[in-house]
Symmetry: C2
Subunit: 283 residues, 2 copies
Amino acid sequence: MIIIRKIQKMQDFSRKARIKRQSIGLVPTMGALHEGHLSLIRQARKENDLVIVSIFVNPAQFGPKEDFRKYPRSLARDAQLCRKEKVDVIFHPDAKEMYALNHKTYVSVSGLSDCLCARSRPGHFKGVATVVAKLFNIVQPYVAYFGQKDAQQSVIIKRMAQDLNFALKIKVMPTVRHKDGLALSSRNAYLSKQQRKDAVVLSQALKFAELLIKGGLRDANRIIERMRQRIQRKNSAKIEYVSIVDLDELMPVKRITRDCLVALAVRVGETRLIDNIIVCPKN
Amino acid sequence: MIIIRKIQKMQDFSRKARIKRQSIGLVPTMGALHEGHLSLIRQARKENDLVIVSIFVNPAQFGPKEDFRKYPRSLARDAQLCRKEKVDVIFHPDAKEMYALNHKTYVSVSGLSDCLCARSRPGHFKGVATVVAKLFNIVQPYVAYFGQKDAQQSVIIKRMAQDLNFALKIKVMPTVRHKDGLALSSRNAYLSKQQRKDAVVLSQALKFAELLIKGGLRDANRIIERMRQRIQRKNSAKIEYVSIVDLDELMPVKRITRDCLVALAVRVGETRLIDNIIVCPKN
């Protein structure tokens, strides 16, 4: 496994690979790898000749009051994990390498970037779409892997890749969870012991929604209300949003008549956590 | 020479070419080809294994009151010219192929897109940057060729390609002019006989600026004032802007102490024409 820090070197590597017809699977990450990332890496390993994991804490997707500085960084440990999964290359540029001083270009996906997480994180998805477009051009993958946990991100990146005609496939892999249901996230590391216990309420609320729908409830607002009540029982939990939206346009639905995304963002103490499930009223 | 109308087919063609290590030169156009375009095509022909000319009148770069509908379209003639220049492929998609109904993604280059032509054409350069990003991903060229006549466009595309890490080179070729100095443009076809005569005032004003600078004048505003006076002598000419800006950031300069862009946009009758030169105070 090699670690590449320069864009030019990464592009040269990928160009040679493409000439040799070697397929590249890209797993874009911000590091602090956990089993969620590893599930993406393993899928990439199964399906491609070469696996490239990018590790870059992207300043453009953090707001001024967000956790850019304290976001966990652990390259040595991440590299160890990648080596174990037989990753070929870690692409690990620094911020100066990725954003020149006179950087002026941004990619934005309208509509999809105004709802759900975007309300409390203005500019976040513009930062995500921009860095992912850059990574696609730098690494030139055949397939790029993302986690369903960041549902809105996945929808936006799929749309971006399609709209800008990137010649690659996007695969979205299922959320990996702890035994008690909490979705794996690098930000879980911020939680105190009590908060970690309380945080399970996110996935519990989602399971509860699933149950209500299985039981025949179709009114989205009533389901959301019941979920909110459930979450509010935890003292440390502060709801940012609980939404039920369609899968393509991420627009709120009134009645659940087809597959929908149930998504939520909750602050547990100071830590902002997100989770989601896709619900199928027909099952 | 073949004409390709589908994105998928174009991408397949380019992927195979890249595997064979054939270099692709792309000349993006809106058709209505003239000697200006042909100079780009000839340069591409000299420097690449394959030459691809895209012909697409891009709706996203026209304002609601602009000339999208009447913009000259002449595929048969364009194809003849391309064949003569030994072009390998014309990529000629229709608007539905390029912009799906649910298209949501745009590329914007901040700062550079707010000055000069952008003032009277809001959204124009966002449309340009977006379609060029799409063409880069579809055609996957090694080199893309643009004309200096669209100076602001060239600066924006260069910055976009650099910022988003497209693995290609941008080459900007000199403006081609009629004998009397008028820059070649597909929009010259809109001019009446008298307007065609009056239109020469654009290049005359630029030459006049060059002369003033050679004569030692360095005050940008005084030069602009003299140019404006000269243009206003023509009854059919209505100035939109006359600007002197630096080459990187396109910001107005007060004194001409290094190479600058002198650029102007003038309506001759109803037809909006642009032109520019780079002036070098050291010469």
